[in-house]
Amino acid sequence: EADIYQTPRYLVIGTGKKITLECSQTMGHDKMYWYQQDPGMELHLIHYSYGVNSTEKGDLSSESTVSRIRTEHFPLTLESARPSHTSQYLCASREVQGSAFFGQGTRLTVV
């Protein structure tokens, strides 16, 4: 079983609030990713990191930021939540050979 954890699992928050979604992995993987996924739909890459102090924007335009100060930790921050941010957010880390391990996701609802 993969050791990658996301908190919180569920979050309901008001418009305009600042939120941080947490993601931690204990596998020592350098590569980590954040995806946004609406129910039953494809995964959209928001941000990724190749290691400490390395972050890149993905293909999906997003008003979010990430940081990678430690290998095991890759938090995602929304500065001002909007209803259009309502979705599931999936964090993943990737081992050297390439396979990705996903966390259980954070289901975010912005009201």
């Binding site: 890459l45 990737r94 990705a100």
Partner: protein, 112 residues
């Protein structure tokens, strides 16, 4: 940007029937991975294909990578209700990054 298309988008089959999903890219791929996501769950890695024309099997699942490394397929023989979920391919381009692009997914429903 690069897109990875999967067909069909949805598939309903009777239990015991076979199922195939196809993944197509407009550009040559370095490798391709397949993931399964159960309803309400997160994607789980199934397999990775690297070589042109490669075929790999996992019990009832057969994975194939095209000769030109632009397409791939996943075939399930004699589906079971436990096969229900969405199957995604994820492709890494030959440009050499670890930025994997996920396909649009195929949602499989198996009717008992």
């Amino acid at each position: 940007g690069q897109q990875v298309m999967q067909i069909p988008q949805y598939q309903h089959v009777q239990e015991g029937e076979d199922f195939t999903t196809y993944c197509n890219s407009s550009t040559t791929l370095s490798n391709i991975q397949w993931y399964k996501q159960r309803p309400g769950g997160h994607p789980v890695f199934l397999i990775q294909l690297v070589k042109s024309g490669e075929v790999k099997k996992q019990k009832r699942l057969t994975f194939q990578f095209g000769e030109a490394k632009k397409n791939s397929s996943l075939h399930i023989t004699a589906t079971q209700t436990t096969d229900v979920g969405t199957y995604f391919c994820a492709a890494r381009t030959t440009s050499g990054t670890y930025k994997y692009i996920f396909g649009t997914g195929t949602r499989l429903k198996v009717l008992a």
